[in-house]
Symmetry: D2
Subunit: 351 residues, 4 copies
Amino acid sequence: MISFLNDYSEGAHPEVLRALSEHNFISTPGYGEDPVTEEARSLLRKAADLPDAEIHFLVGGTQTNSACIASLLRPWEGVISAETGHIAQHETGAVEASGHKVLTLPAPEGKLRAEDVREVLAAHRANEIREHTVKPGMIYVSDPTELGTVYTGAELSALHGTAREFGIPLYLDGARLGAALAAKGNDMTLPEIARNVDVFTVGGTKNGMLFGEALVFSTPGFVRDFRYLEKQRGAMLAKGWLLGLQFRTLFADGLYFRLAEKAVWLAERLSAGFRKSGYELFVESPTNQVFVLLSDGEARYLRGKYAFEFWEKAGEGKSVYRFVTSFARTEEEIDALLGDAADAKTRSDAQ
Amino acid sequence: MISFLNDYSEGAHPEVLRALSEHNFISTPGYGEDPVTEEARSLLRKAADLPDAEIHFLVGGTQTNSACIASLLRPWEGVISAETGHIAQHETGAVEASGHKVLTLPAPEGKLRAEDVREVLAAHRANEIREHTVKPGMIYVSDPTELGTVYTGAELSALHGTAREFGIPLYLDGARLGAALAAKGNDMTLPEIARNVDVFTVGGTKNGMLFGEALVFSTPGFVRDFRYLEKQRGAMLAKGWLLGLQFRTLFADGLYFRLAEKAVWLAERLSAGFRKSGYELFVESPTNQVFVLLSDGEARYLRGKYAFEFWEKAGEGKSVYRFVTSFARTEEEIDALLGDAADAKTRSDAQ
Amino acid sequence: MISFLNDYSEGAHPEVLRALSEHNFISTPGYGEDPVTEEARSLLRKAADLPDAEIHFLVGGTQTNSACIASLLRPWEGVISAETGHIAQHETGAVEASGHKVLTLPAPEGKLRAEDVREVLAAHRANEIREHTVKPGMIYVSDPTELGTVYTGAELSALHGTAREFGIPLYLDGARLGAALAAKGNDMTLPEIARNVDVFTVGGTKNGMLFGEALVFSTPGFVRDFRYLEKQRGAMLAKGWLLGLQFRTLFADGLYFRLAEKAVWLAERLSAGFRKSGYELFVESPTNQVFVLLSDGEARYLRGKYAFEFWEKAGEGKSVYRFVTSFARTEEEIDALLGDAADAKTRSDAQ
Amino acid sequence: MISFLNDYSEGAHPEVLRALSEHNFISTPGYGEDPVTEEARSLLRKAADLPDAEIHFLVGGTQTNSACIASLLRPWEGVISAETGHIAQHETGAVEASGHKVLTLPAPEGKLRAEDVREVLAAHRANEIREHTVKPGMIYVSDPTELGTVYTGAELSALHGTAREFGIPLYLDGARLGAALAAKGNDMTLPEIARNVDVFTVGGTKNGMLFGEALVFSTPGFVRDFRYLEKQRGAMLAKGWLLGLQFRTLFADGLYFRLAEKAVWLAERLSAGFRKSGYELFVESPTNQVFVLLSDGEARYLRGKYAFEFWEKAGEGKSVYRFVTSFARTEEEIDALLGDAADAKTRSDAQ
């Protein structure tokens, strides 16, 4: 069974495991205050061209999103998100559990539009009884989005302009940031993304690490006392160097970027192959997620050898399915899937 | 520099790393719903003789404590703890951040006494305006305690009796449970501890794992919807099998117990050696933490080669320092420290 | 200036003030545990035909809604509401501040439909990774709705059936319950409403009291420890008898119902008059809120003598305005407004 | 039965009721944005000699305390309080329910000492792993204290100095502030108290109003967006003018101060009388609470005609009881109680 279920079905890149073994018996200060973690911070600062960024390493994405949001909002403030946003849909209300409403907006192809955000912010400001409503205090986007699409520099810059106009932070969830950077259609470098937001994450879990998200506040002093909040939420790893070590490994010589490029390249091959066999794609995702329409028979045929996720019903007896690639997949596995998909289509057409 | 700072300064037992490498490229379902994690649950159920226990694996201790407490309390309920308790002192108010007051009691040698707890519970019940005060809804102990002492079966049983009398759960934080089981003076097996509480943890971070705490609800159905809470708090690891795999490794053939026994044996050797050289111990800790009184000169002398923690000021120009052993320390390292401690004492006496 | 801004612009019915004066110097136990409050509870139980109902009196609506919801949900549970619902729009995220997501659904004319609710509940139950999403744990409706419409017995009964099918409570916010009961189109008595929900409120602030909401749990034991939560949230009035006394006054001989009937009767007269003069109504509200479309000129003309609220923009240079009646308005005031409205229309048509 | 149970057993001063009646049918903007409330703010600013103070009126004390604290703290911060403090003991954990730990200190006669507070703040600052503990972010005192004692100017000024040294606010809970100002031993005027704290309350519930607490932030801009928080917590009264009107009545010509002076004068008479009959006072309270030691027989004897509160057990078969005076008590009632107390003592001595 070959898994296209997601990009976190396997462990880490072998370089990461090797680093763990080599470092294992070196006594190291706890809680992320060790030299290895400091090196990782330096490498990330360099990669993002943010010499003064404040960087924290956390274990998982939900934890990182809700801690970041809670660190910057006051109790009566909410966060603006696409209605498809991860924080709005797939984190069991972690943001609300911190007391903050997620203020959702329709978002074509998963992307929040600056003009929509502006309208919400302006309407709140103009509202005479605004204190009867939640104050929008932050903007959340993810890049890539939940639909695998990526923001252009112009789009992100417009969002940042709106955020600045209203004096609130723009936060970019980069759980799959590597894939965004490697995507066709992406026109931003990591430093450019970093300059266009106030805080962002660089996800490791889905790109070569056992686990780990880097939370990067671009401006020093932008957040206050984050380590208190991190500890309070159980998000401060005792052996924090495990996170630093993994990030150091991936950012020492660009492995992070190469792994993401591989995943995206495999996804492009997959998209092209599906199309060639006559399959329709649900959305043009230029990253490592491929959304394809399959009939029930086609899905059943592929289910025997491949794992992939049902996404949603479509019309005409078809459904959308998601196939995710990662550094752990191979060209051979893609081609095997494409071969079987071609067979499935032939059988399906014959019926 | 040899570290006695704590038992989480190094990585994992080599067996754990080997297991990680072997399993690394096997595609595995996420979020702890995989066969490896299920095996780990079975092994723990067997070790605790609780065939129906509900078991969750989380990354860290603060996270586990606050999630467990929040899963069982209602908003107006608090948790009774020793005033030295970890949740009362060293978790940045994580319990309060969940909305619950920690109701502290004096606790000689770190141990909560059933009679004190009973008094609080009875007083609350008798209070005519009890709804103006926090309702005690849970009892928290750790074994070993913060001072390295262990509960006897009679003590734990009395606490459990009190908990049952008032219809509230007893929770045992076993972040160092291995050390408690290996301690001289401990008169309980793991199944006996398990039967004397309603929920407990088995800590891996401080005993051979990279990280990981098992949260064990003894009775099925005792908690409801825990996985929702786990996800909401960012405590559900995407690659949950990392936790299962580590616990499986440590509980497959008793490695967990052997590692703790080694740590405790080293601590005993250390205590005996300190005493032999004329040092006074601050508390009789039978586990892997040794609290010793050093003069400033003695501390300075040892600081050159060994890392250890200042605990608190004592009288007569001395302070209490904590030395922690673990599976990662060796007999040779203990003896080196003891040799230097003897020298320090001699020099100190000569002055 | 005659106010149609809302139904809480004035104080209380004179009977209420008289009762306050008479009782003023009688020493009375605090926090709602006095005989007057107990009498008020009895009167309400009788009016709702719920002999065993558990009743609490609180000061305001937002407080009552958020306390009631928090008393019945667990941290990972959310409450289903119309997207126009008061808790979703006008309480500054009070429900989210308690940690619970408001799960909104489109609601034609402000009314939640049982089939929509059922679909959400069934979808959640069927979701394989349901713990990654908020668990729907309660249904919230208000009667009348935010648009002044009322539920029929069949509609409410269908919602209650759905709630029971999925084992969650149905909560009815009756901040303007009197108006709903007095409305044309309402086909339920108070006991019938009470039997069709699990918990509801009877609002006093908008119908003859200085302030006060009764929170009625139909079944004894349905909620646990509510008084703790009430105190914790600062919702337990020291001089609780102020609430009991007001409710006793309004329910001793049906004054509550008569005041609401007057308000609704005035609103009907207002609707009919507006229509007669050629105005279009935005929604058919059978309660004490009238939503009418005015041109800018018409609105300006009326603004001189009357206070009323802008609601939202409509097409063709018109906007929706809300006029609210109450026991404190008179037939003469209505007729004066209608006279001026007729003039405004004439002037407007002449232009 | 004459009540000495507390100072909120009766309603309001007749002037307050008269004002309510007179204003009842005047249509008034809601939520505290009306001219009457603005007048009340002006009167309070004048009384406290704080021309720019930001003032909010809330219904009750628990609500006001927890909202004020939540408005100024970040999630990882706690509030320092006397261990006898109202927020620590009698508000059902309202502060913790907002996520903040109450950091308690022993407080002789109920008063927090600046040197103790300083020690806690300095220790936290010096702590190397301070982020593992709650950050002290605010100081809470009440004047009078829970034991009826009052702070001197020197004591309060020292606390304020400490607060400033560490950059955190000092909050004074003045639920019974009138009594403090009227107390023998008090050496501060209201403006002097106001200058020695950052935020304080002026309680109305216990001194002539039906209900109401004024929350005064001395410096404009000290708090941000308080009205959002107020609304979110259900602490913003729809008919907010009810609060403004009551405060306007009490501060228009000093009635607030005269009522408190009467209550304190009655309490002094009561203390003196008790002492004269041979009773021992538990604490020297110069305000409107008298704590007296009674034998069981004496208490039983008085219970027939007077209501008063058991406080705590004392030695030698005696207990402490609390008698509270207010503007609603009369000299005759005090003398009646004292007469019976003298009888009880005689009978008691005779036995």
